[in-house]
């Protein structure tokens, strides 16, 4: 009989199963799991805006306090007037802004109010204040909360009932989504950016292509993106139906965050970075779904229809419903009719009425810099609005003289907020008018009843402004990059 191993010798521990970034974040926030499979997650950051009024009303109806006021931040953005802030006439807009202020005061929340030097769109403010950090869960009653995933955070939008739940408990019940990795190889060409990459994959997989999934964006073309680019990419995850989007944190992330007002400082910073560096997916980690994209295949991309999946390279022609299978043809005809386009028409040369640069997708400093590169020394043929994503972005742009470039080109330079992305503040596109827009949704009526929206990068919007038509920005940027 062989001798039993010495009592001190341990059977070799099985190597821990390689985990994805998502696995690590989920596990770190899971407080408990119910028999039915729902997990109770801890929420590190909860962001609220004027639209959260339903949730505050629910909380009031229960007479419940906000569980963690120091983890809850209120931002005025959706209804923020972009002009005439000091004299908002009585009405819905004023009431919505005042209601948020009242709720913030009642519950002792830090409010980024209309006149705050740090005000802006919630998904711009969170990162730029260092409120959004790697390893966090971030919730907000807004679908583009996916933006914050750019930092390696579990960030997803929730509805009013869930917002009330987070307010009351600082936790949220969630079913674990499936995981999906989108690996982008190669390099994005000059003047091709994160917006084009996002519209490209959404066109390929569909507006519900990533439904039920948490996406991790990976590969050299994603690594090469700045934080602004990563935020644009993660922001649009929801337009492809994903629950959330993420990029693993790296030096680009840490450089962006260091010194931000709410980021850890000193010893704590070093400790935090240590932990964050362990977040990226382990080699060999398994995803439920893998998608590969070659960045060099991507051209500047624009939408032609009324869903973000209806996107094509600017050099393409819109579909001809006669050549589509019947199920798709009806939808395409309807979209073309709404958009006032004819079957098979070239995208280049479609005349536009106005432009908009801004939103949580493309209202950051890098977006404005690129648009300004296109516009410098040129005149816009159509009117347009440039609304920076935050007051800090506005100040930075003004320090760099970008506002001058915009106004000299004939565009209007206004205060920060959601503005024409959703038109709640009154910045609307008139019925039947065609707008080249750096926003995220080309839904019917999104920018106003009957408004025709073409989504594209801010550089492409600037190019459209100069020519008065949809056009390829690349020649206009030659020698300027």
């Amino acid at each position: 009989m062989t001798q039993a191993p010495a009592a001190t010798a341990q059977a070799p521990k099985p190597a821990p199963k390689p985990a994805t970034l998502f696995d690590k974040l989920w596990q770190a926030h899971e407080i408990t799991r119910r028999a039915d499979g729902a997990s109770l997650l801890w929420v590190d950051r909860h962001l609220v805006h004027e639209g959260s009024h339903h949730a505050f009303a629910k909380l009031a109806a229960r007479g419940a306090p906000v569980a963690e006021p120091s983890l809850t931040y209120a931002v005025v953005d959706h209804y923020a007037p972009t002009r005439g802030r000091d004299a908002i006439p009585p009405g819905d807009i004023r009431r919505m802004i005042e209601t948020l202020g009242q709720n913030a005061r009642t519950h002792g929340l830090r409010l980024f109010g209309l006149c705050d030097p740090d005000q802006g769109i919630v998904h711009v403010v969170g990162p730029e204040q260092g409120l959004t950090l790697p390893g966090f869960t971030v919730n907000c009653g807004d679908s583009h909360t996916s933006t914050h995933g750019a930092f390696g955070a579990l960030a997803f939008g929730i509805g009013a009932t869930e917002v009330a739940h987070v307010l009351a408990t600082q936790t949220i019940w969630q079913m674990r989504p499936k995981t999906m990795r989108i690996t982008v190889g190669g390099h994005l060409g000059p003047a091709v950016g994160a917006k084009d990459l996002a519209l490209h994959w959404i066109a390929r997989l569909g507006a519900d292509g990533a439904r039920g999934h948490a996406i991790e964006y990976a590969g050299p073309a994603v690594r090469a993106l700045s934080m602004e680019g990563r935020m644009t990419l993660c922001n649009l995850s929801i337009e492809g139906g994903a629950r959330l989007g993420m990029v693993a944190p790296d030096d680009t992330t840490f450089r962006y965050l260091q010194g931000r007002p709410f980021a850890p400082q000193g010893d704590e910073w070093a400790r935090a970075v240590d932990g964050w560096a362990r977040l990226p997916s382990d080699a060999g980690a398994q995803f439920d779904r893998e998608v590969e994209i070659d960045a060099s295949d991507i051209a500047p991309t624009v939408t032609w229809g009324t869903s973000p999946e209806e996107a094509l390279p600017i050099t393409a022609h819109v579909p001809n419903p006669a050549h589509l299978p019947p199920a798709r043809a009806a939808r395409a005809s309807d979209a073309l009719e709404y958009m006032g386009l004819s079957a098979g028409q070239a995208l280049q040369g479609v005349a536009i009425d106005q432009v908009f640069i801004g939103s949580c997708t493309n209202g950051r400093i890098e977006d404005l810099r690129l648009a300004a590169k296109v516009l410098q020394g040129r005149r816009a043929k159509v009117p347009g609005l440039v609304a920076p994503g935050s007051a800090l972005v506005k100040a930075q742009a003004e320090a760099e003289g970008l506002d001058q470039i915009f106004t000299q080109a004939g565009l209007e330079w206004v205060e920060a907020g959601c503005s024409m992305c959703v038109g709640m503040n009154g910045d609307l596109v008139a019925p039947g008018k065609r707008c080249a827009s750096s926003t995220n949704r080309n839904f019917k009526g999104r920018q106003g009843r009957g408004a025709r929206t073409h989504l594209m990068s801010p550089a492409m919007v600037a190019a459209a402004a100069i020519t008065g038509t949809l056009c390829d920005v690349r020649p206009l940027l030659e020698g300027r990059l």
């Binding site: 039915d36 499979g37 339903h54 807004d142 939008g157 009324t306 009843r449």
Partner: protein
């Protein structure tokens, strides 16, 4: 959410459109209205009304304002997290939406408000849409048995257990969660020790 339900029968109508997004379900300009006023009038407002605000008489929900089942094409409720899209459906009287796929946040919001987002395969949905093309039909759904009968055709479906129980019991998550207060407190203490920067000084 108040009260759950197990069975529901009613009139079914077709909204044979893809990607009926949340901006169509309720245009942004109505979202400042307090819920107590009712969101029914705003459901699909810009499809139900023309540019001059007049009712479009031939639009299906104007012809059948007593419908409680809505059958639509893929990607229903995509877009915004606005729960007001669900309020509009519920306040109008819709109890069940049948489609091949739904936006994730929309589905969660629906279940939180007693509205069933029922997924059927695309081919089945097309079959039902064809039957509803000219006239509304009768439908009934049983959450316990997970069966749907629409236009005389029977279908089985499977709901995530969480949704099924929530719809049937009308659970309020906050109450359920409050019962876990000690676990949450223990988690919070550990989180605070491990990552103090969650609580900015």
């Amino acid at each position: 959410m108040s009260g759950g339900w197990v069975h529901h029968s009613g009139k079914a109508v077709a909204l044979a459109l893809e990607s009926v997004d949340t901006d169509q379900l309720i245009p942004a300009r109505f979202m400042s209205v307090p819920r107590a006023q009712g969101y029914g009038p705003y459901l699909l407002h810009d499809l139900r009304h023309d540019g001059g605000g007049r009712v479009v008489p031939e639009f299906v929900l104007n012809q059948h304002n007593d419908a409680s089942f809505l059958v639509a094409r893929r990607n229903f409720g995509s877009g915004s997290s606005r729960e007001a899209a669900v309020y509009a459906l519920v306040d109008f009287g819709i109890r069940v939406v049948i489609a091949p796929s739904f936006g994730d946040i929309f589905s969660a919001n629906a279940v939180n408000n007693g509205l069933l987002p029922l997924v059927l395969p695309e081919a089945d949905v097309e079959r039902v849409l064809a039957m509803l093309l000219h006239d509304p039909g009768q439908a009934s759904v049983d959450l316990q048995a997970e069966t749907l009968c629409i236009c005389g055709q029977d279908f089985a479906f499977q709901l995530p257990q969480v949704w099924r129980e929530k719809l049937m019991n009308g659970w309020d998550d906050i109450d359920l969660t409050t019962a876990r207060t000690p676990q949450i407190a223990a988690y919070k203490t550990a989180r605070r020790a491990d990552t103090p920067w969650v609580w900015p000084s």
